[in-house]
């Protein structure tokens, strides 16, 4: 399994043809206390770069863009009651949704951990 990152601070773990998407720890730290996560419905077709989820903090609402094209297969039901998981464990328990990839080539344009960390260092 490998993990990729975007400049918009999403991460994606790819296992076979399924990608699990979340926002990075850096991003959750920037947003502050997460109060609500609007999640996509399973079965929804999505294109790379679409805003498919919204993460709310008290005074901000941030779109989350899917890093890959495909179909949403699941979203993280635990966030309905515990949006704070995105704060406490952004890059594991706080995942947002899973996408069944149709264009695996899209991953090539994403960053690995080291590249992302370097990128964040420039912000």
């Amino acid at each position: 399994m490998s993990r990729y990152f975007t400049k918009d601070h999403e991460w994606i773990d790819v296992d076979g043809d399924t990608g699990t998407v979340g926002i990075t720890d850096y991003a959750q730290h920037q947003l502050g206390d997460i109060t609500f996560v609007e999640l996509p419905e399973a079965g929804k077709g999505v294109k790379k770069g679409d805003a498919v989820s919204v993460v709310d903090s008290v005074k901000a609402a941030s779109d989350v863009y899917t890093p890959v094209t495909g179909e949403v297969s699941e979203s993280n039901a635990a966030l309905e009651d515990q949006p704070e998981l995105v704060n406490t464990d952004a890059e594991a328990e706080g995942w947002l949704f899973k996408v069944k990839l149709t264009e695996t080539g899209e991953l090539d344009a994403l960053m690995d951990r080291e590249a992302y960390d370097n990128y964040v260092g420039t912000l």
Partner: protein
């Protein structure tokens, strides 16, 4: 000038302090040729309090106020007695001259009032939750339609023929721009509302069904049946209440299956005021909370663990979500919500129920008397405090003549539906607790005179 505290000395010293030689140095960014050198022509100069009061009182005197005449007008705005306590309390400066409670530590008064108001509205409507108010009933109704669009992802709207024509117009106007498809109808002069035709119009593509309760002709639709039909097709039922006092007597819409209930709250505490400011009431199911428009107040705790209240869920709103907001609404009707809430607190549930019965009793008395006039009949099988009377002639002219004789007799359907000739003998009359036996007799006698 009595409202301006700076003296000429202050002004001179302050100009010097900011490094300006003259006041217009501060207006340096305004194009020179457009900067006005003196007071705008064509307008009067300042006036004393006494002079202004005289001018305005003269204008007020050109109106016939409701209290000066037997008064039977309703159609979406109702004259009720407002206890003196209400107006006294809303004029406390801490309520009257406060802003939207953006700094909750020093706005707990307004916030707790809003929390109580939301609870009152939700209980009155039988909904899970309510917001902190909208502009008025008609705009709340349009916002409800938009909210249903978002929830159902459908944009077809079915409007009952019993929905207030101004509300229908408001929805139609807005729908021209949002491209919602509106299916509306003109009411039919029948003793019962046309629930069957409404149910017939609901399809798998219908996002919402909008029903007024009691309806514009004073009839009472069967909400449970309409709700079942709407839900069977995946549509939401929006119920509109223009006379909330009715809910002291008839069942709450939320208990009958309504998904969103909106209303005009003017009846309680607010007064007629020629049409505004009024008070939009908005309640809905809890699961729709994040699609709800408008401000909401929520309970929380402060740093010491004390209960307190804040404006919350603001990520739905325009100041954060901007073009993706659930509505562009910013200002609500805070002071009117306070007036409503105080009046409701004075009444309590028991008082509201008694007030409702009293209204209904006055209306029964009015109907009984009017029906004794030859050629005059009552349309409705059921009504609350408002009812449609059928006259033997065009009601518009009748209303004008009665007004000349000092009676404010009601609203002719011709005024509300100028294009529907078949309705023109219809007259909407309302009797609230403010109507006396003498008023009824004066009205009836005058009408007999007109019809004779």
């Amino acid at each position: 000038m009595r409202y301006l505290p700076l003296t000429e000395t202050d002004r001179a010293e302050m100009l010097a302090a900011v490094g300006a030689g003259a006041i217009d140095d501060l207006f340096v960014d305004v194009p020179k040729d457009l900067l006005l050198g003196e007071p705008i022509e064509g307008l009067p100069l300042h006036a004393s309090e006494m002079a202004v009061e005289r001018h305005m009182s003269r204008l007020a005197g050109q109106n016939l106020s409701a209290g000066e005449a037997p008064f039977f007008i309703g159609a979406g705005a109702y004259r009720h007695h407002v206890p003196a306590t209400v107006d006294h309390l809303i004029q406390r400066g801490e309520f009257l001259t406060a802003y939207t409670p953006y700094q909750p530590e020093i706005a707990q008064g307004t916030l707790q009032v809003l929390f109580e108001f939301q609870t009152q509205v939700a209980r009155l409507f039988g909904t899970d939750i309510a917001n902190a108010s909208m502009y008025d009933g008609s705009t709340a109704c349009w916002e409800a339609v938009q909210m249903a669009d978002r929830i159902t992802r459908r944009d077809r709207v079915v409007l009952s023929g019993g929905l207030h024509p101004h509300y229908v117009s408001t929805i139609r106007t807005m729908a021209r721009f949002t491209r919602d498809e509106i299916d509306s109808r003109v009411p039919v002069l029948d003793a019962e509302p046309d629930d069957a035709a409404l149910i017939e119009a609901i399809s798998d593509e219908t996002g919402s069904v909008v029903v007024q309760y009691p309806d514009i002709l004073g009839r009472v639709p069967d909400l449970a049946a309409i709700s079942d039909a709407a839900h069977a097709k995946g549509a939401l039922l929006i119920v509109v209440v223009t006379e909330p006092v009715a809910l002291g007597l008839i069942e709450a819409p939320g208990k009958l299956g309504a998904d969103i209930v909106v209303g005009e709250g003017q009846s309680l505490g607010v007064g007629l005021s020629f049409g505004g400011p009024y008070l939009g009431l908005f309640g809905c199911r809890e699961k729709f909370v994040r699609q709800m428009p408008g401000r909401v107040c929520g309970e929380t705790v402060d740093a010491d663990g004390k209960r307190g209240f804040v404006l919350t869920l603001s990520t739905r709103e325009q100041h954060i979500r901007r073009e993706k907001a659930t509505s562009n609404i910013c200002t609500n009707s805070g002071l009117c919500a306070l007036a409503f809430s105080i009046h409701m607190t004075l009444l309590g549930g028991g008082g509201l129920a008694r007030l409702a019965r009293l209204n209904h009793a006055r209306a029964r008395k009015l109907v009984d008397r009017l029906e004794r006039i030859e050629g005059v009949s009552c349309l409705n099988h059921a009504y609350f405090n408002e009812v449609t009377i059928i006259l033997p002639q065009d009601a518009r002219e009748t209303v004008r003549v009665l007004a000349d004789r000092g009676v404010l007799a009601g609203v002719s359907l011709g005024r509300l539906y100028p294009d529907a000739n078949e309705l023109h003998r219809g007259l909407l009359v309302t009797a609230t607790e403010t109507v006396s036996d003498e008023d009824i007799e004066t009205f009836a006698s005058a009408l007999e005179g007109v019809l004779a």
